[in-house]
Amino acid sequence: MSKTTEQVRKTLARRYRAEKRFRAMGMASVLFGLMAVVVLFTDIIGKGHSAFVETYIQLEIRWDQDELYIDDPTDPDELAYADYDALIKNALRERFPSVEGRLEKRNLYKLVSSGAGYTLRDRLAENPQLLGTTETLWLLADDDVDRYLKLGQEAQESARLPEQARAWVDELVQEGSTDTRWNASFFTHGDSREPEQAGVWGAVAGSFFTMLVTLALAFPIGVAAAIYLEEFAPKNRFTDFIEVNINNLAAVPSIIFGLLGLAIFINLFGMPRSVPVVGGLVLTLMTLPTIIISARASIKSVPPSIREAALGLGASRMQVVMHHVLPLALPGMLTGAIIGMAQALGETAPLLMIGMVAFIVDIPGGPLSPATVLPVQIYLWADSPEASFVSMTSAAIMVLLGFLIMMNTLAVVLRKRLERRW
């Protein structure tokens, strides 16, 4: 055995160990990343799943005309402004006759959501003949009750519900007078200070209008810019400058676009704050580079032979582009646009700058009415002190992630279906 071979042999075991170590480190890194995905999703689903159901309490409601102070049941105004909370309070007092004292009674009244009175109002407006009758109704419980019941035996100590109220709730549970039902209001209501009445629909509508404005502006402009740069632009300083700008804008922090929106759109042009149009404009500027870059890539992938063939048959350059290149490149452009839209849908920071953080209860009716968007709603709820908003926030995140997954799947499917290999 030669001397070199001997030396190599000696170090071989060590080198193989190093090889194994390095490989294990690589594998550990990949596992760390995958674990992060798993932990993130299980954490959010674990926190958020409970928000999709909410607690109801069964109460015996006496539709007492005197208690409501309704003189004329045919007058819609009287029906609208009657004191429905009094009915609920009566029902609660009758349910727990032993409760005495102002403070205790106040705790008792808090078992039912403060929005339950409106449920009664709507019910009476639809069925005026109910007046004078007694019926058993399921009413929405307060979020403290809801949370107390959702926490499970061992963690119930940490709930905010007062000691006495826990006894009442336990009694209700034993008698089967509580029920958990699908939280439909979460998908139909706007924001609210009361967690049990708050919903994401207002934010979803706001996001929809914002995305509509963004898509309507960013896609045509992005495609037009890409066509110009790929097919028409002469090779000169000006074109180079445009390209440098596009590449840099793609990497500018999103919050800077928010500053641009605040200084230019709101302060200079005097556009209103908190409206989807301004949000859409800012997000358009932010997503344009992404869309232009992907649109250019898909124009580039159209083989030159097609252009040459069309030119050879006498088409003008514009006709070549509009009749041949654009239809062939469109699937790729759409995929890029969907991915850009997904990015814009999850964006929060620039929208904070242009005032889309306002507390808005109404469902926005159009791109010009004040609105908030889904990610900003998540930010606002995450900041709220009530513990119930934690699960609401996680549930809203699940809705947002659901939309993003849908958009990305659509992009993948589009690419698979329409992609052409030349």
Binding site: S29, L34, N245, L249, L260, A263, G270, G346, S394, L400
Partner: protein, 462 residues
Amino acid sequence: MQAGNLVLLLVALAALVYYAGWRRSHAVAASVGGPRNLHSLPTYYATLTLFWCVLPALALLGLWLAIDDSVIRSQVMASLPAAAQPDSGVDHALLLNQIRNVAAGALDADAAPPHVAAAAELLNQLQERNRWFLTAGFLAVALAGGLWGWSRIQPRLRARQRVERIMRVLFMASATIAILTTIGIVMSVLFESIRFFQKVSPLEFLFGLEWSPQTALRADQVAASGSFGAVPLFAGTLLISFIAMCVAVPVGLLSAIYLAEYAHHRVRAWAKPALEILAGVPTVVYGFFAALTVAPAIRGFGESIGLSVASESALAAGLVMGVMIIPFVSSLADDVITAVPQAMRDGSLALGATKSETIKKVIFPAALPGIMGGVLLAVSRAIGETMIVVMAAGLAANLTANPLEAVTTITVQIVTLLVGDQEFDSAKTLAAFALGLMLFVVTLGLNIVAQHIVRKYREQYE
């Protein structure tokens, strides 16, 4: 009529004009023996008419909407009696708001001072008149344009060339928006920053160690002078970015190497997209995760081993930000590693090197410039990241290098200074734009350097 309705109306009008142009081109074609003998196809004549109708009207609408508000405002303010003219910018804004509220009916006109009520009435009148003028002018321009275009349709008109030229100009205008955006960004942060630096010296801003942007509302208030030394913010930003890089660079790089060089192609086919899910999660979700899961966990762990950890520690924000950047680093690194020519690998392996030795001594040095570029881009991302730090990092400007304490960052301060109501020309608000300028300059510098490195590296192997 509202601008949205006007645009809808214009769409309907455009369809009509297009049809009219198409009909007329056929009609004029009859005199020369059919559409075959026209210079262009009938659709080109129609499109040209449509352009004549739509483009001038849209230009008018844009211009009008950009200036009408300020014109009305100045007219209303000029109508006020000399005694009621506001003397400062703040009073000006307050008075204008009052007039607007009275005009909108939110405030009672009888309770307002007479000159305000009069101004509100004038405002309502002007707005009403403005709406009418806009509608009338818009429709007049659209119709006149359409009619003009329609009347010019002749067999010899070079319609196709004109349409194509107009489209080309429109395409170019779209591409120029990128430049306009950059100019807009520079202008908006630069002008406000200049105003800020007139109030606070740039030296104090860049080198001052004290950051407390609370300025006095009244001159006689105590302890509200406001100091704008941004060094604690820079330090906090760097600390959190550094922690993020400590997570993202090794993990991202090693996983890119593993997936590119070791992993079975089937493992790679699903592990790579799975990792990229991390890049698609919105930052607000990471912020929530950092604030409500990671930060309490770190705090609990620290307390169990006897360390005091702030509940908004830099560590929590940095770790989560690092996780967010992992896919960014790994996909950039993957690109450069797979771009290293196979011959270099083969040469090293043939000389008896193990796979890891090949990677460490041949591939990694060859890919280093590209990887450096990727890391720089990742750093610029970490510096500009907002939501994670807004939700999980603190607000107090501590000058510390301890990752267990709370620090604040440039982006957090921009958000806290600008969210909420405040007058627009106070040093506090302007400071946000000065911070924005710093952020823009730094990230732009990093991006340019990184792109330069990456491009140079690519040329080397092509």
